[in-house]
Amino acid sequence: MTTRLLEIENLTVRLAAGQAARPIIDGVSLHVEHGEAVGLVGESGSGKSVTCRSVLGLFPEGAEAAGGLRVDGADILTMSPTRLRDLRRRDASMIFQDPRASINPLRRIGDFVTEGLRASGVSRKGALDRAEELLESVGIRAPRAALRRYPHEFSGGMLQRVMIAGALAGGPRLLLADEPTTALDVTTQAEVVSILTRLQAERDMGMLFVTHDLELAAAICDRVYVMYAGRIVEAQSAEGLFSRPRHPYTSGLLAATPRLESDRPPHGVPGRPVSLSEAPSGCAFAARCAHARPGCTEHEPGLREIDGAQVACLRAEELIHD
């Protein structure tokens, strides 16, 4: 049996005392195989970004993490800082939401793309040559000249391509994408997504794609996890999720997505997400759920296997044909 590329097992992250009433991530388990694209979907504040960042050992200040968190079998939580730095340079890298904020505005594009390579000891010349290839592969014209330009000379979409090039520099096997298209306008989004999926397939990378857009996740991922209030509430294949959502929250998210082919106006999930200062007992979604029963607020529902999908809902079987 080969080890999984990314294996998260029962990960719990607590913020520093007094900052939150519940763990910001509560017993999350997920995995990504080599070459597999996996979606992680949820509203803002669901903990999906925190989960994603924790893979690189990036935790909120003062937070405590417990559980298993392994990239290629190596445990992130017990790793030495030197080993963690190597992992960030070579094995796993991340694409962030807002390229404008994520790339130092005062340094040249070339500095950004080559920074990781230079830190791992590649010569300046070698790093610049490699950066040129990378910029070309993400579709930036005149890449040699682009290396000498500054971020403010690029559009948001172009800058996100630069970010992708920078993430690929170390030749990672695992790509973490934290809402990589949210800050972009619609036409640019499609371009960036197609570049991302093409490169992921070409280089046979595993990808964890974090987004609030369930439809986007289903379109580019093999499997999708749905997160709510720090927990995974549903996990199944992308097409299964789309055709047969098992958790009322997933159904709600799907209904909230505007559809071209439907005349029905989209309606959002009613109510608001659980804030960090609230720690509801039982199912965290119960307060917003149309199908909630008194029992829902008594016991925390665990993930159960139903027809190849994993669902954390007490009434999953009854609601199947809804």
Partner: protein, 316 residues
């Protein structure tokens, strides 16, 4: 960029013109006859009075007087000192090296101390940060002459490590003699720069691109140097303009406190003996140095932040 430079130099010219006009005109604001004022109230022979009237063209209309005076100033002729009976330009030139050395020495102390303490406070939150905050709070509240007497009592009188007075001869000995004065001059500004550095670095530390750099396996020291300190330079550069202005004037206090014969001390002694040509010349020099320093700051800014080089060139 060229347009921006031209406009700035034009602005400086206007500032200097107005300043020189005020400095020159102030002679006429003084109570009593300008000639006797320029003679410092000393009783003088009719020949001396005639000489001063000749030198300042006091029999001409005011504007003509000014034009003749400013014409001389532009060519480096500031007139003759009433007490030293010597060219003002020569007097200043003889004292300039001491003052420049003092300012340079203090400048190095300010830069090194200010950046080091500021960075230390920003990177080591908690006890170190609080200690630096208290220290810089006291430093910025300590005027240079209080720092001077404090340093003299501790290092010159108590410990006897440094001389309290005098210029010293030879470069090494001069540096040695200038150590306490430079420290007295620097103290307030070290506090100021450290505070600006701390605030600016804390702001940069919270930025997303710093976290991104960490997420890419860039070593911590490189993150601080290349992303935090580098990006914090903008506000730090801005405050140097203020620092330069303060330094120039504070030299007169420090040089007096330590008995150094520099330009600042020349200004103070000239005011005391009412040697007005010297006061005029030194004042103009100080303002010139100040506006030049601010011009340099403006020119350096686009080098620090490439986003500014576009905006400035384009704006009307």
């Amino acid at each position: 960029m060229a347009g921006f430079l031209l406009r700035r130099i034009g602005g400086i010219a206007v500032t200097l013109l107005v300043t020189s006009f005020l400095v020159f005109g102030s002679v006429h604001l003084a109570p009593g006859d300008p000639a006797s004022f320029l003679l410092g109230g000393r009783s003088a022979s009719p020949a001396a009075v005639a000489a001063i009237k000749e030198q300042y063209h006091l029999d001409d209309p005011f504007l003509v007087q000014y034009t003749k005076w400013i014409g001389g100033v532009v060519t480096g002729d500031f007139g003759k000192s009433a007490t030293f009976r010597q060219d003002v330009g020569g007097l200043i030139a003889a004292r300039l090296p001491t003052t420049l050395l003092l300012i340079g020495y203090a400048g190095v102390l300010i830069l090194v101390g200010g950046l080091a303490f500021g960075a230390l406070a920003a990177l080591r939150r908690g006890v170190v940060d609080r200690a630096v905050l208290v220290g810089t709070g006291i430093a910025t509240a300590t005027p240079s002459f209080v720092a001077a007497i404090g340093l003299i009592s501790l290092f010159a009188v108590r410990l006897g490590w440094f001389p309290a007075f005098g210029n010293g001869g030879g470069f090494g000995d001069r540096i040695y003699h200038l150590t306490l004065p430079a420290a007295a001059l620097a103290l307030t500004f070290v506090g100021l720069l450290a505070r600006v550095t701390r605030t600016s670095m804390l702001e940069e530390l919270g930025r997303e691109h710093v976290e991104v750099a960490r997420s890419r396996g860039v070593p911590g020291s490189d993150v601080v140097r290349r992303h935090v300190l580098r990006n914090a330079l903008g506000p730090i550069t801005t405050v140097t303009g203020t620092v330069v202005a303060g330094l120039l004037v504070a030299t007169s206090i420090v040089e007096t406190a330590f008995g150094l014969s520099g330009v600042g001390q020349l200004l103070v002694s000239s005011v005391t003996v009412k040697d007005f040509p010297v006061v005029q010349a030194v004042s103009l020099l100080v303002v010139l140095a100040f506006v030049t320093a601010n011009l340099v700051v403006d020119l350096v800014h686009p080098l620090i932040d490439p986003r500014l080089s576009h905006a400035k060139g384009g704006k009307a």
